[in-house]
Symmetry: C4
Subunit: 254 residues, 4 copies
């Protein structure tokens, strides 16, 4: 097995200039949540797996008791009507652990993208604010200047010097290395506190993606998850304030 | 020397569809203890060593004053009666230190397994509970769905979502990569507190393995070790509670 | 893409025995500041980019909303009058993260230097003192004994056993590996507290470089930056002393 | 440059079955001190340098202001009388930083050893006790059983289960990998507190080496250094006990 290997799990699909959409684990798991929801909503078909020697040496256990090597997975979906394009959807368990591993992984993804005729890449992720936020905006950065206007039209936000640290990981690298190879695209970063997985932020990202892809998605499942997470966040806060009170009482006594 | 190298220390044995059983260091050293006991009990013969540039740069010192490069070791045992199969037993000083090292090591092990006609792989390890346990169960995960039933019959336990983090290390990877190459098998994880080496858990794992392999093992040595470890654990606890008392006395005085 | 790759962003310039001057990020960012100022002052032309799999997997976002893969950049400048030499200027976002990454990066830089006929290399950096300094001296080390005298003439300082730890990173390695390949050169290390970016130290380094290269530079922009940084340093100190006072008050009360 | 490269700095010497003696940095720098003293005493001649991409990316600065890439160095010495053998002496600035780097380095050393007809290897190091010691013993481990007796005769000590962790680093690996390639040899580990460089322990190691090699060494320089270090150790202790007293006074006052 090479450092990164691709394994086709079904016949290679025939796709027409598909758009690649990536959502791997990251801050608030925004990108992964968004792409997983997209896969479920459009009922996309899995066709390939990526394995890397830079992923942890780990298997997960399915509910039926069988094991599954950690991986990244490719799905495809064929356009149903005019104004839509075929999609390749990428999600997975991990990003590469090391710098080199990240570069190798992204190079392999771009190789596959090229093979299927991809010209446009959209990468999804979160932008950690470190504080709560009511209506998460979606920050954006693009490979090409002319795309900035387009993405603004779709509701994406461009802020000077944000994110200040740029984009780290596969979402950034796919555009950075991709640009050198002639791909065009954009990264959408949903604002998120970054403490917990954030379906609300994933929803904000998908709303923009719906406009770009012309694909209608039912976002109710994400909204439900978002409420559950808000509930958990609320409980965590209460527990924290109780334990704070208690420790203050203790100080008072002691 | 390649990244991982195999060195035959005796003539290559001729084996008939042997079963590969792996037990490398890990939580509670359950897998290593089990395979070492198995090797001693059946008086298996060492035939090869694995060295990896991802093992620590280290030699151990034998009781006779000579040194030994850290390694993994292969043993074989030939079936003595009907219903038994030839065995290849794998144990060693270390697993790979890095992700890549683990993948390379396991690929080499599978290469050797294939060379000897192995079709089934059983990997042994511990499942750390973080608390003490009277009767350790043996959790299981398999490469194939049809094996789940079989393993249940032998007394292995399947719990939904356990281990939640999947299986990390050679025990998981041998099945994960092996499955892709057509091997079948299962991982047995003996429940263990995980604080100390755990011969009791190793015994639980071997009891199931005895049924699968149809090989009778005398488990007394493990039981004796288990009692010694229980004694040590008991002493450690007492020391802890004494030092706790003392520190409370000190607080009282101070 | 190889571990380190060079990408020409314009036609390869024709240069006559150019001098290579390197200033990558490091202590006080002295080297990077100096080379960036040099590039701006002489209006040098970018002609190539280096990418390495040992750089972080990261893109930065330009002010126009487009992304840029982290890199090292080569600029050239052609001599305008007698007594000057053509220059190749190297700066960038990062040095290699790992030892191996640093060696690979520097080997690639030397390969390019050789291709353009470079014979002399000057590397710029900071020498962290850990305390403030009014007039930063510029320490020096050279590839060849006969250069020591020359560099002293230009105002560089040689102190026995300083820097005690030698020179770590690209500035050292370019000379160390370069010397083996027949390059000559020197490293200039501007003294710096090392807490903040240090334009004052960069100015000191450039003053010496101006004499060596016979290139006149307007250093006002650096002086302005130096004043800004001094202002910030002053503010930080005040904040510190206030918070110190406060914590002492608190101690007094508590 | 390969991962590890050898560079001959003089004509390859013609040696007759030389003994390789290694002393690289380690606990108490015992091995390095010993080999450096040996090189000085017999006035050995440097003939080659090793560079590795796993060494830190660093140059040291010579007293004349020139730089020197960090390396390992080979010296040779030709036997002067009957009963002596030619020597190859290896010391240097660093060992490899990573596991793989250590393996690669040692393989290269063995390759060179083989080229010069080396059959015996002696590796020198320290055995850290964590407490002071008046008369450091020299622990030993060998590649072959028959050497244990010989080494005992020379005054080396074999203790069961010591060092419990085996031998980590080049000293262990040279014997471990060397044994597989047919080299014979021993590792001598001078007992040392391990806090400071330890010339006393280096002296103990050299005393044994003198008997093995039949080479007379003047150990006065080491004895002088040992006294200096003892003086420093004494001063450090005093400073410690003073600061301890002071902190107790403070407690008393506060």
């Amino acid at each position: 097995m090479d450092y990164v290997t691709v394994r086709y799990t079904s016949k290679k699909p025939k796709l027409k200039n598909p758009i690649l959409i990536e959502g791997l684990p990251g801050i608030g798991n925004v990108g992964k949540l968004a792409v997983e929801h997209l896969i479920d909503s459009v009922n996309a078909t899995k066709f390939a797996e990526l394995h890397s020697k830079d992923f942890p040496p780990q298997v997960f256990i399915n509910t039926d008791g069988t094991i599954e090597l950690v991986n990244n997975e490719f799905y495809y979906w064929k356009a149903k009507k005019r104004g839509q394009k075929d999609l390749i959807l990428l999600t997975g368990d991990y990003q590469g652990l090391s710098s080199q591993g990240q570069y190798e992984l992204v190079e392999k993804i771009l190789e596959i993208a090229k093979e299927f005729g991809v010209q446009e890449i959209f990468t999804l992720g979160g932008y950690g604010l470190g504080h709560e936020i009511r209506d998460p905006k979606v920050l954006c950065a693009t490979t090409d200047k002319h795309l900035v206007k387009t993405m603004k039209k779709y509701g994406a936000v461009f802020k000077k010097n944000e994110p200040g640290g740029g984009i780290v990981g596969a979402s950034g690298l796919l555009l950075g290395l991709g640009k050198q190879q002639g791909f065009q695209g954009a990264c959408f970063m949903g604002e998120t506190p970054g403490y917990l997985v954030d379906p609300k932020s994933a929803k904000a990202v998908l709303k923009i993606l719906m406009k770009i892809t012309n694909v209608d998605l039912n976002l109710q499942a994400l909204e439900k998850k978002a409420k559950e997470i808000e509930h958990i966040a609320h409980q965590l806060k209460e527990m924290e304030s109780i334990s704070k009170e208690k420790s203050e009482e203790l100080k008072y006594i002691g």
